[in-house]
Amino acid sequence: MSKIHVKLTVNGKAEELLAEPRELLIHVLRERLNLTGPHIGCETSHCGACTVEMNGKSVKSCTVFAAQANGAEITTIEGLGTPDALHVLQQAFREHHGLQCGFCTPGMITRAHRLLEENPNPTEEEVRFGMAGNLCRCTGYQNIVKSILAAASEINAAKEAAQ
């Protein structure tokens, strides 16, 4: 089977590689580009641990072939913040106990980032509906929702202050 020349922009950086058509985006991100933030959880499009942004949409990267993503702009959790400069969402998850084991967290935060881009001032119900594709098996969702709402307030306050 012939390999495919795949070009991606990942977290703002141009990447080029040869991929087998059957290589999934999650495998390319984790194993070729060493971006191990997006996790492999259920591998059946349910849990959302592998969530990344692709061309401004939240997608489950275990259910996208790298070949399909050819030409796309991808953002992973690594593109949102760093250990020294946490993203507002990362800081909010930390402060509001939005994680325990942390396995689902990169997917949660990447998805929450897109949700707040599309709806900067969501209600609790809208957060729950918008996060329905991400499963957490430790905390329950209470503190995850609280973290996202807190991050939304903080982002909005910062925006108002800037105006």
């Binding site: 089977m1 591998e43 059946t44 072939f65 329905a132 594709g133």
Partner: protein, 284 residues
Amino acid sequence: MIPAAFEYHRPADIESAVGLLQRLGDEARVLAGGHSLIPMMKLRMAAIEHLVDLQDIGALKSVTIDGDAVTIGAMVTQQELIAHAGLAQSAPILREAALQIADPQVRAMGTIGGNIANGDPGNDMPGLMQALDATFLLSGPDGEREVEARAFYEAAYMTDREDDEILTAVQFTARPGGYAYEKQKRKIGDYATAAAAVLVGKEGGKVAWASIAMTNLSDTPIWSQAAADALTGTDCGAEAVKAASAAALADIDPTEDNRGPVEFKRHVAGIIITRAIQRAWSRA
């Protein structure tokens, strides 16, 4: 999980895509959003030699609303359907149904065409298309042809589409009136235990017309002429709704699976149909 090896094709127009299907025969499958097909490939329940990705074909992504005539390209995603202001105006039942499909990430990739053409009895759009009396546009080696949604589904995963044909668009006439898509599912991301699409028109306090279809209650979507007849001309009161629900239940043939035994499914179906009719009527 890694699927078996295959060749990947990304044609730029419908003619090239049809040409590939014609040349490669039943070893090829088209890829829309991939959220039914890719999981099956990963589980190695679908063995595909050639995958023909339709994402570069711009003609499949348009939505046209011309008066009451609505045409939706097969590659329009569920997320795009939900966000489309014109569709929310002319056929709000589409948005209501699409919001009940899977979860946000799946809706970002999943398409109306994939949902329709896959032939999975659990998919929601086929039932909805029965209710809307939609027409499907197929492109193949001999050009384009039209098939009525109500004549498209033959059995589970078996449709009127030939191996070398591509579903390019759906068309329907939007009718003003009440609507509801009601779905019972075990959890977010699951297929329906039972779902019903109801459209209803009101004139002088009576039901002028109705269209009632059901999802995942037979090996194909079911449109019930008898249910619509039972409702038409009535005041949509409790007796009429009961009669319509009974008529709809006479048209389904659910099978036992992990969503429950037949008796349970019939019970859930009765409740879902009743709720859908009542909600549609409240909006008429």
